[in-house]
């Protein structure tokens, strides 16, 4: 009866040994993940450092590090942007089709088939790109160079192999399609039924219902999904390494046979044969890639999470 003025914090409950060990290893694993991410940054910086501090003459090609990485960054961005521009509208349409147009029974199976696209290893996409897609695009490139050659993008001369920047952009588009459409599908299907039914009850057609109730709700989810796809396209390695015939140099000509390579593909192609400072240079370019993708992914997650906070769905 005298304990009416209890301390503001209760006494820490006694923990059992089993509980302590288990809780400790669980939070240890969580912290380990943070350490790994930090470790990735630290070790990359450590191994890139010799290249960052080296004199230009010692680096491969005898040029400065920025001159070496610059065209690669450019190539990486161009390929990823093409992929994004092609994949996003398609992915949104697919997501709409599966959520609101497809017959109910087939919708799940269709989603599964689209997800299969994500499961195919990237090296196989490379095989497909060089064997099936690139040759199929050669006539199109010839036509583009002939008829639309006045646009710098299609200045030509058209590549005879089809292994161009535009081809790899399309391969990457197919690869990121399932990522964007999976997230779009999720947000579209979460659009509040109340709003959708309200729109239909006002006599809206299906498209008007989607425009009024689904698209505004799903907009930031689609943007976030597209950013995640962008992150994937930026880091994609094997498909680019196999399909693109990179020869360096910055050019906006998407259909010729001289293209800038991408960071990831350049590493994959050069690394096995490199020694000494060349390895450090490649790791420095990897560090640049890491920084770019981290920035894109953080932005994407921030957009997606912000939507989750304000959606009222939870």
């Amino acid at each position: 009866m005298t304990l009416t003025s209890a301390p503001p914090t209760p006494p820490r409950p006694k923990r059992r040994v089993g509980d302590r060990i288990f809780a400790g290893s669980a939070s240890g694993s969580g912290i380990l993940i943070l350490l790994v991410l930090a470790g990735v940054a630290i070790f990359l910086i450590g191994e890139a450092w010799p290249a960052i501090t080296a004199a230009a003459a010692d680096l491969p090609g005898g040029q400065t590090l920025t001159a070496y990485i610059g065209p690669l960054v450019f190539g990486t961005l161009i390929a990823a942007v093409i992929a994004l521009l092609v994949a996003t509208p398609l992915a949104v349409a697919i997501a709409l089709y599966i959520t609101y147009y497809a017959p109910r029974r087939l919708a799940t199976a269709m989603g599964y088939v689209i997800d299969l696209l994500a499961a195919i290893p990237s090296v196989v996409y490379g095989f497909w790109g060089i064997a099936a897609l690139a040759p199929a695009l050669v006539p199109l490139y010839g036509w583009l160079a002939e008829n639309l050659g006045f646009i710098p993008l299609f200045a030509g001369p058209a590549s005879a192999t089809g292994r161009t920047m535009l081809t790899i952009g399309l391969v990457l588009a197919v690869m990121i399609l399932p990522i964007i459409s999976a997230i779009s599908r999720e947000v579209f299907s979460q659009a509040p039924a109340l709003h959708r039914e309200a729109a239909l009850a006002l006599g809206a057609t299906r498209w008007e219902m989607i425009r009024m109730a689904v698209l505004p709700y799903g907009k930031s989810g689609v943007i976030g999904g597209a950013m995640l796809g962008l992150g994937r396209a930026l880091g994609e390695t094997m498909a680019v390494a196999i399909v693109l015939s990179g020869s360096g140099g910055i050019t906006f000509n998407l259909i010729s046979s001289s293209n800038p390579s991408t960071i990831a593909a350049n590493i994959a192609l050069q690394f096995p044969e490199s020694t000494g400072l060349a390895v450090n240079t490649l790791i420095a370019s990897g560090l640049a890639l890491f920084a770019i993708t981290m920035a894109v992914n953080m932005l994407a997650r921030w957009i997606v999470n912000r939507r989750a906070d304000f959606s009222g769905a939870n």
């Binding site: 969580g30 196989v124 497909w128 995640l228 390494a241 890491f290 894109v296």
Partner: protein
């Protein structure tokens, strides 16, 4: 559409009942018009020398236009727009199926040529030209993937348990966010990380199977954390409370109640994560390398793996090139079959091992 039953045929200008009837296209008219457009497109492309891609493009455009204009004329502007979007969305879905179909066809077409016994029971040791196989690469892939799974599953599962059962405040939010970000690490960067880590201790020329496993773990752990977290969250809180109320400590509750309830979902998640990393090539290229002979010890020297094997057989075929390229395609086919098999297994796990709830 009218609900009225009176036999007198009312003129169209009068409202026949409470529901105003609109003029509508017959049921299969839209589909028919679209198909007609496709046929017309085929004819058009036949005029300029037949080409499958052009046929599809012309056909889709013409079919969509036909449906849109007819519907607009007959059913009005709003319904017309609705039909237009339906056409576009459906066409987009079909277009997305084209690469998948083409890819599966190409890989089967090229890969089946060397899909023989020699491919599965011989390595590339001493093989010049004819013969040879991926025995060493298949086992290399299996060993490295197994090692990756052994590293990743405990860490990933425990981290998910931390996030769902123990985590609070800023540390939890930081881990959740960074796990999400980590799922976006480019695979080549994960490979460089493992290389940099080992190069620090063993010098820059080091290539080991275990390096590949570490690199793949960096990619696999966040996938496992995410999927396990989702599944653990689905376990009803009532079950945890029921267990606590029986005087069961928290860790035993997690091990004996929460995890068994979620086991199907956890199994599915792990299988899909394995499927994701088994085809990774870039990290293995920079950490494990390739050899022609069989090395099954991940702690000693280079190993062959299926995706890297496929890559080198295609890009550095030697002479004559066709034989190596055929091996490359078969390796790609085997890789796809492995991934698909894992996906099917994942579906089966989630179907057959789900707890039988009466609710």
């Amino acid at each position: 559409m009218s609900t009225q039953t009176s036999p007198a045929p009312a003129p169209v200008t009068e409202r026949p009942g409470p529901v105003q009837s609109h003029r509508r296209l017959p049921r299969f008219a839209a589909t028919g018009l679209y198909l007609a457009g496709l046929v017309l497109g085929a004819l058009l492309s036949a005029l300029t020398g037949f080409n499958l891609a052009l046929t599809v493009v012309y056909g889709a455009v013409l079919g969509t236009l036909a449906v849109w204009l007819t519907s607009r004329a007959v059913e009005g502007r709003r319904k017309g727009t609705d039909r237009l979007v339906t056409c576009i969305v459906t066409t987009a879905f079909v277009i997305a199926m084209v690469p998948l179909a083409s890819l599966v066809y190409t890989v089967l077409d090229n890969g089946l040529r060397r899909f023989d016994a020699a491919f599965f029971n011989s390595s590339m040791l001493g093989v010049v030209g004819e013969g040879g196989g991926a025995y060493h690469a298949i086992f290399g892939t299996l060993i490295i993937t197994l090692l990756t799974t052994v590293i990743s599953v405990p860490i990933g599962l425990l981290a998910a348990i931390y996030l769902v059962e123990y985590g609070t405040g800023r540390l939890k939010r930081a881990i959740t966010f960074l796990v999400d970000v980590m799922t976006g690490i480019p695979s080549i960067v994960a490979g460089l990380f493992a290389f940099a880590l080992f190069a620090l201790f063993f010098g820059p020329g080091v290539r080991l199977g275990v390096m590949g496993a570490i690199a793949l773990s960096v990619l696999m752990i966040p996938v496992i954390v995410r999927s396990s977290e989702e599944v653990l969250k689905l376990v009803p809180n009532e079950l945890r409370e029921a267990s606590y109320a029986l005087g069961v400590p928290k860790w035993r509750t997690i091990v004996k109640v929460v995890i068994p309830t979620a086991i199907a979902g956890l199994g599915t998640g792990v299988t899909l994560a394995v499927a994701r990393v088994i085809g990774e090539t870039a990290p293995l290229l920079v950490t494990v390398g390739i050899i022609n002979g069989t090395n099954l010890n991940p702690f000693e020297g280079r190993m062959a793996t299926l995706p890297v094997f496929a890559f080198y057989q295609l890009t550095q075929p030697g002479y004559p090139p066709e034989l190596a390229i055929e091996r490359a395609w078969t390796a790609a086919l085997v890789l796809i079959m492995l991934v698909m098999a894992l996906n099917v297994v994942a579906r089966l796990i989630s179907r057959f091992f789900a707890p039988k709830t009466g609710r």
